[in-house]
């Protein structure tokens, strides 16, 4: 009767295999049915319809800007630390000599040329600046039709350095 016993064991194993397989498939089906019926799990954000409610963390590295206060003054002294820190030549500092009210000749910033097309947003320039003149803004929509618009001058025209910044 060993032949019959092995035959029976084969049948039992076969049926167990089939049931185990169907059970594992049914568990997976139950999980997807859960997601099909629970629409509150949908996490799609409908951009660009939700531009008004988008909020980005303040540390998000979008592009480099130079903040100016109400009197159109900035904090950049033209020390070119950012230009030295940048890995791929994105920032070019053009300096000029101005005469201070005391009559001395001092080096000051003329233009801070920032090539947005080359920037990798690595934050090294912001960290290197000794006078907190530049920071990262949270804008992220940088597409333009004309490449010339990507070369930006960071200091506003006619602005000068704030008092007391070294």
């Amino acid at each position: 009767m060993a032949f019959l016993k092995s035959y029976l064991m084969f049948i039992v194993k076969y049926i167990k295999e089939v049931f185990g397989a169907v059970k594992s498939l049914a568990i997976g089906l139950r999980r997807t049915m859960y997601y099909f019926t629970h629409h509150k799990e949908i996490i799609t954000q409908q951009y660009p319809d939700n531009r008004a409610t988008l909020n980005f963390p303040e540390r998000f590295k979008g592009e480099v800007v130079m903040p100016h206060n109400e009197n159109n003054e900035h904090r950049c002294t033209g020390c070119t630390a950012c230009e030295l820190a940048c890995p791929n030549g994105t920032i070019k500092v053009i300096t000029q000599f101005i005469t201070t009210p005391e009559g001395k000749k001092k080096k000051a910033i003329d233009k801070l040329v920032y090539h947005l097309e080359l920037c990798t947003m690595c934050n090294l320039c912001v960290v290197a600046c000794p006078s907190d003149a530049i920071k990262m803004a949270q804008t992220f929509e940088h597409s333009v039709y004309d490449r010339g618009e990507l070369t930006k001058i960071l200091n506003n025209p006619g602005s000068k350095i704030m008092e007391g910044v070294e």
Binding site: G28, I43, F56
Partner: protein, 371 residues
């Protein structure tokens, strides 16, 4: 090694898989020699995304070259940056404060979970189950949101500097990570329901792509690829760095050596990373987040090597310095390169459909291989 000579006979078909893939691995070109449906040889052709990162680093200073290494294995970007920072600190004998060490380890483990999530979703998609991809990305997006708040970016974070981290963690960091831990514990059960226990998936993975322990060592495989064959190779355990020797976690080993074993190793590694995060998140010590270093870093003359455990295996950074502000030569020992070399050995004799499953379990990221 590879038995190459005179295996192609008349009537064999050579087809190209890639470099443009419908799958997500990157630009990998495989020249596969087939006999009917059976694979006889797999020859990877690399170099489609070679960007000469090592050469570029020769003209960047020791603070500047870290950002470009995020783009090597972009799924474990933090760990790449960590390795470079460790090498520079080793050269300059900089002591990293305790707080910075803990923050670095936390970021590493979060990155490891995120990388394994993407691996899981992409592998499921290669095998034809399209749903787990979106479920995996939901968790990955949560991690990316945490990173965005502290580091400012989601993929190429550039947060590590020689001496510590670039900025202190955001006040919301601890709370968000704790929420993530709670969320994750529920979701990991769903992964088992959807894929691991599924009979179709198990049939496609069990017995496929066998790699014995001796072969894994001789090809130089590290990471989950080797651990799936029983080779103990976790750098966090064998050569601990930062605070890894002070926390308790297990090294996951499976002895079967087939694709399913490698899959299980990665799934359980996600749980281990979660354990590490749980142990550390409440005990971030106070202190500096960055050691005080000179403004211009100059490594002394000599050669320095450090190794870390990325999500794919062992990453080694080797710097040769002549005493200048820029390195003389940097070499990265990438884990993917050695793991890919085992593909030929594993694939011989299997069917074409199994090749996709095998590539999935090797977890290849081609920019890591091509640098």
């Amino acid at each position: 090694m590879i038995e190459d000579t005179a295996i192609t006979e008349k009537g064999d078909l050579t087809i190209n898989i890639g470099p443009q893939h419908p799958a997500t691995h990157g630009v990998l070109h495989l020249a596969v020699t087939l006999n009917g449906e059976t694979i006889k040889k797999v020859e990877p052709h690399l170099g489609y995304i070679h960007r000469s990162i090592e050469k570029m680093c020769e003209s960047l200073t020791y603070r500047q070259f870290i950002y470009v290494t995020s783009r090597m294995d972009y799924l474990s970007a933090h760990i790449n940056n960590h390795a470079c920072a460790l090498c520079v600190e080793k050269g300059m004998q900089i002591e990293v404060p305790e707080r910075a060490q803990v923050i670095r380890v936390l970021m590493d483990e979060l990155t490891r979970i995120a990388s394994h999530e993407l691996w899981w979703g992409a592998m499921a998609m290669d095998l034809g189950a399209f749903t787990p991809f979106f479920h995996a990305f939901r968790e990955r997006e949560t991690i990316n949101d945490i990173m965005e708040e502290t580091c400012g970016a989601r993929l190429t974070m550039n947060y590590m500097v020689p001496g510590g981290v670039m900025a202190d963690i955001h006040p919301n960091f601890q709370r968000k990570v704790k929420d993530f831990i709670k969320l994750y514990k529920q979701k990991i059960k769903e992964y088992d329901e959807l894929l691991t226990g599924n009979i179709i998936f198990q049939n496609r993975m069990k017995g496929i792509g066998y790699l014995s322990a001796e072969d894994a060592i001789s090809y130089g495989c590290t990471g989950p690829t080797a651990r799936g064959s029983g080779v103990s190779s976790d750098i966090r355990k064998l050569y601990p760095y930062e605070v890894y020797d002070k926390i308790s976690f297990d090294e996951i080993l499976e002895n079967e050596g087939d694709s399913f074993a490698r899959y299980l190793v990665r799934i359980r590694e996600m749980n281990e990373s979660l354990k590490i995060i749980e142990q550390l998140i409440d005990h971030i010590p106070e202190g500096d987040y960055q050691a005080k270093t000179k403004a211009v870093l100059k490594l002394p003359k000599g050669e320095f090597y450090t190794r870390v455990e990325t999500a794919r295996g062992e990453l080694g950074v080797y710097i040769v310095s002549e005493g200048a502000t820029t390195p003389y030569r940097i070499k990265f020992r990438s884990p993917g390169f050695s793991n890919l070399s085992a593909l030929d050995h594993m694939a011989r004799g299997s069917k074409l459909g199994d090749l996709v499953a095998m590539m999935g379990t090797l977890d290849l990221v081609i920019p890591d291989i091509d640098r």
